[in-house]
């Protein structure tokens, strides 16, 4: 048997050893430990006692958890499409080489560099009644003030606004990158084919960046399911738990109630939900490919 550079060699694996060792010690092992904890009655300071799936039963039967799941799903269901559509819109509008567009591109991306404490600080100061920016605007127009952070419905909406504001940069950039890779001559062919602007968008542009749309959606779903800081700092999950996301539930159970076991169980449930959502998306996208082909 002759030698080839492509031959599988265990020494080649050495390149992944540094990462894998970090991956295993800092992710896989803690994850496994987390799963173990979720099977135990345990608080922050130890005292483990194996109780099987009881923690899961408690989590799943807790109406507060149910509400948190509902909130999170609604949040993801609204914010992710918004991010995708808005990001796409911005990318389309700013896909030019003019100074104005590149300035705006920079501007829309700029918010992504702020930390969550700053972002929520900014938005709290915008949303608070009487002193907030929006309150001033409402006052100026003589409108009835709205308690954006303290009214059921508006609270989650406000968290969503801050989130979209914070996260819009990345989708826009990814879409811009994808748009720039569409060959120019496709558009020229379409122009000669008498295609209207709308048909160019729907039949040329969107199909060409389909995989990027998918990628952006998956990334955002994974990220938005982990919503925490914004809700914690802006609304504290309220009112009446109407803006409490799953991660905040986990935090409360684990850190305020010290019930690590139950928190761990909720974490694993979240992990499963994210995994399923991502795989579902992946499955839908690849399945459609196959039908097309």
């Amino acid at each position: 048997m002759a030698e080839s550079y492509r031959r599988s060699r265990w020494t080649n694996g050495l390149f992944v050893v540094p990462y894998l060792s970090v991956f295993v010690t800092l992710l896989v092992f803690p994850l496994a430990w987390g799963i173990w904890l979720s099977l135990n009655k345990v608080d922050l300071f130890g005292g483990e006692r194996f109780i099987g799936l009881k923690n899961y039963a408690r989590v799943l039967s807790d109406p507060v958890f149910g509400q948190a799941v509902k909130n999170t799903v609604i949040f993801v269901g609204v914010s992710v499409p918004t991010l995708v559509v808005l990001g796409l819109f911005l990318a389309l509008a700013l896909n030019k080489t003019t100074k104005g567009s590149s300035f705006l591109r920079g501007l829309f991306f700029a918010s992504s560099i702020l930390s969550v404490t700053i972002v929520t600080l900014i938005w709290r100061i915008v949303f608070i009644p009487s002193d907030g920016l929006i309150a001033l605007i409402f006052e100026f127009f003589g409108w009835q003030p709205i308690g954006f952070l303290s009214t059921k419905g508006w609270a989650l909406f406000s968290v969503g606004v801050a989130t979209v504001w914070w996260c819009i940069g990345l989708p826009m950039m990814l879409f811009l990158a994808a748009l720039q890779q569409i060959p120019k001559d496709l558009y020229e062919a379409a122009a000669l084919d008498n295609a209207s602007r709308w048909r160019v968008l729907t039949r040329i542009t969107l199909p060409s960046i389909k995989s990027t749309i998918m990628l952006v959606a998956v990334i955002q779903v994974v990220m938005q399911f982990q919503l925490f800081g914004q809700a914690q700092l802006m609304t504290n999950g309220g009112p009446a738990g109407s803006s409490r996301p799953i991660v905040m539930y986990i935090y409360e159970v684990g850190f305020l109630r010290w019930d690590i076991g139950m928190g761990a169980a909720a974490s694993q449930v979240l992990f499963l939900i994210i995994l399923c959502a991502a795989m579902l998306q992946y499955w839908i996208s690849t399945r459609k490919e196959e039908v097309d082909a």
Binding site: P18, Y19, V28, W33, A93, N95, T117, I125, A177, T205
Partner: protein, 281 residues
């Protein structure tokens, strides 16, 4: 003479879209302008009503107060060390692993890659307690290493770098093979330089993430001289701090963001091209 131009830019966008985006941009920036305005006002004045932002006098006293805090600079240094350390670490590990996953054959390659991809979906909450315990054993809390390590396990970097290495034509490493370069030298001298745009992209994201990280530093750096800037500034807020001054809070927000904003403004062009040029197809 009517100029006809059907470049893609003209087909996918037009003036109207641009102006809508411009208006959105103004709306985007309003909160930031609001905060900056607040940060330039005396707190006592704001206490009586935030409309004061729209009128003189303005003052830098809030910033002066932040700077007077003796620890701000050491927090800043901690943030720098942690962010840079994390960035370098992630780039190194992800590049090595990405190269191997994209280019080399070794036992269980596919399986390992899929397992790593599963890592993308693991929420931080699912691992943070066990991590905290582990760092106990090794006495890593309140050290820079302890702050840097956890995010090195990010699967995103490996995923991204694998995509990038895959996009490099195979002939390049074959040419290097024939040039008698060792596997490591091919990685180091030939392929790695070609992933510079990718390195920039991943580097920027890692840096920003590290800079803005909150949870892990909060529970790992519990000594004030190990605080990062985010934690440090949060800690200096008093009990029910907001009553003490929107101006001071605004200044803190601006101040904590300043380094990344400066980095961003300086490198904006590169960041944008790096992100667009290096995006995954």
């Amino acid at each position: 003479m009517k100029a006809l131009n059907y470049s893609p830019e003209h087909l996918t966008s037009n003036r109207r879209l641009f102006w809508i985006a411009a208006v959105l941009g103004v709306i985007m920036m309003t909160p930031v302008a609001w905060i900056i305005g607040l940060s330039l006002k005396d707190n006592a004045e704001l206490l009586r009503g935030t409309e004061a932002v729209f009128s003189m006098p303005y003052t830098l006293v809030n910033y002066a107060n932040i700077l007077k805090s003796s620890s701000v600079f050491s927090w800043f240094m901690n943030s720098m060390i942690v962010a840079i350390g994390q960035t370098v670490g992630v780039l190194l590990l992800s590049s090595l692993a990405g190269y191997a996953f994209a280019r080399l054959e070794f036992p269980f390659r596919k399986t390992l890659f899929i397992i790593v991809l599963f890592g993308l979906a693991v929420p931080e909450q699912a691992v943070i307690i066990a991590r905290h315990q582990m760092f106990n054993w090794f006495d890593l809390h309140n050290t820079h290493i302890g702050l840097i390590l956890p995010n090195l396990s990010s699967a995103f970097g490996v995923f991204l770098m694998t995509q990038f290495f895959r996009a490099i034509p195979k002939e390049i490493d074959e040419a290097a093979m024939l040039d008698n370069a060792s596997t490591f030298r091919i990685f180091w001298k030939v392929l790695l330089p070609l992933t510079l745009p990718a390195q920039a992209t991943l580097g920027i994201f890692t840096f920003l993430q590290a800079w803005n990280d909150y949870w892990w530093p909060l529970i790992s750096a519990t000594k004030s001289d190990m605080y990062t800037l985010t934690i440090g500034i949060a800690s200096s807020q008093t009990n029910f701090a907001q009553s003490e001054g929107l101006g001071f809070l605004g200044a803190q927000a601006v101040f904590a963001s300043l380094p990344v904003v400066i980095v961003y403004i300086f490198f904006q062009r590169h960041i944008v091209t790096a992100v667009s040029g290096g995006a995954v197809k």
